[in-house]
């Protein structure tokens, strides 16, 4: 078995709202898979279908080779889930909740639990009501990372964590990957995704718009080039894949589709290069391009 999660053509409506509109997702066993999309694009709905909390209208979904709706209980012993907004019982302490969640899954490693509580600087004796947002997230994270499971489903797990804790989180994910566990990570923090994820899927309006490794995706985007030339540039503007070109005397700035870079460089060297700065596409650019609609206003608003 190589796929931890497979989802094909998933549909889910709430009344007149089509939350999922033919979504596809494939997560390999042992990988950290980024799950990205603007707010309201259907990430949490997909996750709730995968957890058997929602029943899909149509389409296929499999988790660890089984049906998430019918085999929910057996599956959940092998799955740990961290929601983006953890709510706790006001009169239970954090430690009690961690142990409860652990026992409701496959069990808890006490040594790892103690280690995680220390690393996250969590006070497990405080009652649910008295935790801040970040500390409530930590309770759920400690419970998830200390549990003995095969798959972790993390839905914006680091919202409310400070940068130091974000670092602890990233090292935890790296450790989990080394232990061969699969992680589905929904996140808006691009540096986190870039640092952790082997592959990502980007969804918009309930549909998958892009899926693959970050390296693959970079090829689909543009590189910015600024060059000072020895002579006047020649025919650059007419090369395929060149955008936003600006020529001032012998100084050129332009954007080029990364897979069309070759011809541009050849043309530049033909004029003689004095200096050259090339900036690879940033993830932000990558995501903004996918988040924003190619057409229509709605997604344009979302991307802002």
């Amino acid at each position: 078995m190589t796929k931890a999660i497979t989802v094909a053509g998933l549909h889910k409506s709430f009344g007149r709202t089509h939350a999922l509109d033919g979504l596809d997702l494939a997560v390999e066993t042992g990988e950290v898979h980024g799950f990205l999309g603007p707010n309201g694009s259907g990430k949490s709905t997909t996750i709730r279908v995968l957890l058997g909390l929602l029943r899909a209208d149509s389409g296929a979904a499999q988790l660890l080779g089984r049906d998430p709706w019918n085999d929910a209980v057996e599956l959940h012993r092998r799955v740990a889930y961290v929601p983006g907004d953890v709510t706790l019982w006001r009169n239970l302490s954090g430690g009690e909740v961690i142990d409860l969640y652990g026992r409701l899954r496959g069990g808890l490693d006490p040594a790892r639990r103690a280690d995680l509580i220390e690393r996250y600087e969590l006070d497990p004796t405080k009652k649910g009501r008295t935790y801040s947002k970040g500390n409530r997230q930590k309770v759920a994270l400690v419970a998830a990372f200390a549990s003995d499971v095969d798959l972790l489903i993390l839905d914006e797990p680091t919202s409310g964590l400070d940068p130091l804790m974000e670092e602890v989180f990233q090292s935890c994910v790296a450790e989990e990957r080394e232990r061969g566990r699969t992680i589905l990570l929904s996140s808006h923090i691009l540096s986190e995704v870039e640092a952790l994820c082997d592959r990502v899927s980007i969804i918009r309006q309930g549909r998958t718009v892009e899926s693959g490794s970050l390296a693959d995706m970079r090829h689909l985007t543009r590189t910015s080039i600024t060059a000072e030339l020895a002579g006047a540039p020649n025919g650059l503007a007419h090369l395929p894949g060149v955008h936003d070109i600006d020529i001032q005397g012998m100084r050129v700035t332009l954007q080029v589709d990364t897979d069309k870079l070759d011809a541009v460089l050849r043309s530049l060297t033909a004029s003689g290069v004095r200096s050259l700065t090339s900036t690879p596409p940033t993830l932000e650019e990558l995501f903004l391009r996918h988040y924003a609609a190619d057409t229509g206003e709605r997604a344009g608003v979302t991307a802002r």
Partner: protein
């Protein structure tokens, strides 16, 4: 920078005059949020006064009939304990006799819900933090919540005055009755306001206030049985006792309303003093740290932990109430003569002529109806856990929906059996005789309680958005049980309540068929509700 300076100045100015800044806006928000709940309360509760009035005027349409009813009611201390003394045998006087305690207690419940909803509940959910960060004075949330409750109580008073006038019993008596009911509502609104300052949990604040209302009701009943004109110390210790002492329609004692008003002001003052001295979201009963490791390992363990406190509170209350009413039972022997009218009414309520048994049967029936409130509250914990988002991570663990729900349902249905058993034991202990018969009678109420619990499970499972309608169903059954016998409600209407189908124990033979049918109905309802729960989406708040 300019903007900051300007708003700082404005805030500084309002800090001098402005502990109440923003009250109007918050009040509009509260009324907007309660735009369905509040009118339902006011119309149903206010309307029940006029419908009881119409029933009395058609049932006892001559002065002689009414006088006979009044005499028979006043003659027996057990009857007085159940229904209170009759001060006047006009239609208005009879409505006051029947409704003033019940109506005042209901107005108190309405006010408590409104006040807690807009104070502690807002703080507990964190919504208050955002409001208080705006231009909202420190005492504005409490003020707007109290004003919302006062508006509801005032609307209720208008409904009562209009309804009584419509039943041909208007005038000063109607005004006194309406002011009494609204005044007790306002009084307990202030009790709720104090409770909201004391604890961080809205549930606990509601429970504390409800316990005070229940204690007031029991004190009134105990006082009624020891004197024939509600003049005992016990009556005067209870605000609901004050309500009957206003004596609407019977040479109204207006000064008693001043006592109510004074209590409103004193309690309101305490609540304001507390509210001004604490942090938003915090309370005067601080949260203690808990254990660093937990022993809860199953969904049932979690449910037990969550419902433990409430179940202990209910059990103690049932034991106490049972003991008090058990102690009053002896009074049933003080029967002054054998009055046909009395017997007839008691037969409708308790089912047969043995008056001691009939009194016990009436008490057991009341415990059963109150236990229905417990079972609905307990079943609806499922709904609360789900909409608050706390069920989701549990269900994402190795727990089936049925397993998760079953944990709470065992406590709801088993807890109902526990409190009825304890209530029956308390009753028998207070009475001092007939332990097996009284305990058996108490437990015989369970099929009806369970049926209402089953109905709640079905509503929750199949129509989660309408789950709170279960309260309405239980409210109707309570009203039928409390008012129905006295106004000679037609049997088909009475039969809508499952309690009407139970044998009137103790004193008669146990009839198993209705008990078994009701129990079977409860099982079917629970099964259907769980089946629906398993098939539907988990709701988000």
């Amino acid at each position: 920078m300019t903007a900051v300076t300007v708003s700082a100045t404005r805030a500084g100015r309002s800090a001098r005059g402005g502990q109440l800044t923003g009250t109007g806006t918050l009040l509009r928000l509260a009324l907007r949020r309660d735009r369905i709940m509040m009118p339902i309360w006011v119309i149903v509760l206010g309307g029940s006064f006029s419908s009881v009035g119409k029933s009395f005027s058609s049932l006892y349409d001559t002065a002689a009939q009414r006088a006979e009813l009044a005499a028979s009611m006043n003659g027996n201390s057990s009857l007085r304990a159940v229904y209170g003394p009759v001060f006047n045998d006009s239609v208005g006087g009879l409505v006051t006799w029947r409704m003033v305690g019940f109506g005042a207690a209901m107005a108190a419940v309405m006010s408590l819900i409104i006040v807690i909803r807009h104070t502690r509940e807002e703080e507990e959910t964190g919504r208050q933090e955002m409001l208080s960060a705006a231009m909202v004075g420190r005492r504005a949330p409490l003020t707007s919540a109290l004003l919302a409750a006062l508006i509801a109580d005032a609307a209720l008073a208008l409904m009562i005055v209009a309804g009584m006038a419509g039943s041909g019993a208007g005038g000063a008596g109607a005004v006194a009755l309406a002011l009494t009911v609204a005044g007790i509502g306002a009084l307990f609104a202030c009790t709720a306001a104090i409770a909201a300052q004391l604890t961080e949990s809205a549930r606990l604040a509601k429970g504390l206030t409800a316990a005070v209302i229940g204690a007031a009701f029991v004190l009134k009943a105990a006082g009624d049985s020891s004197t024939d004109d509600a003049s005992s110390v016990l009556n005067w210790l209870s605000p609901i006792g004050w309500a009957e002492n206003v004596r609407a329609y019977a040479d109204e004692r207006w000064w008693v309303l001043l006592v109510v008003g004074a209590a409103v002001l004193i309690q309101g003052g305490i609540a304001y003093a507390l509210a001004g001295r604490r942090d938003v979201g915090m309370s005067f009963l601080p949260t203690r740290p808990g254990p660093a490791t937990g022993r809860i390992s199953t969904a049932f363990g979690l449910a037990l932990r969550l419902q433990r406190g409430a179940l202990i509170g209910w059990t103690l209350s049932f034991a106490a109430v049972g003991a008090v009413f058990g102690g009053l039972t002896g009074g049933a022997a003080d029967l002054v003569g054998t009055n046909e009218k009395t017997k007839e009414i008691f037969e409708r309520m308790g089912g047969q002529a043995g008056l001691t048994d009939a009194f016990l049967a009436a008490m057991v029936g009341m415990l059963g109806m109150v236990a229905a409130l417990y079972i609905v509250a307990s079943v609806l914990r499922l709904h609360g856990e789900e909409t608050a988002g706390r069920a989701e991570p549990v269900l994402a663990g190795g727990v089936s929906r049925i397993g998760w729900a079953a944990g709470h349902l065992v406590i709801a249905f088993g807890g109902a059996a526990l409190i009825m058993a304890v209530g029956g034991l308390g009753l028998a202990a207070g009475y001092g005789h007939e332990l097996p018969a009284v305990l058996g009678a108490s437990l015989a109420q369970l099929p009806a309680v369970w049926l209402l619990g089953g109905l709640t499970v079905l509503l929750y499972g199949a129509l989660p958005k309408a789950a709170v309608a279960s309260w309405g169903v239980v409210g109707i059954c309570l009203a039928l049980g409390w008012i129905g016998p006295a106004v000679n409600m037609p049997q088909p209407v009475m039969n809508l309540s499952p309690f009407s189908h139970l044998p009137k124990l103790p004193g008669t033979e146990m009839q198993w068929p209705p008990a078994l049918w009701l129990t079977a109905g409860a099982v079917v309802l629970v099964a259907a509700g769980l089946g629906a729960l398993r098939r539907r989406d988990v709701q988000q708040g």
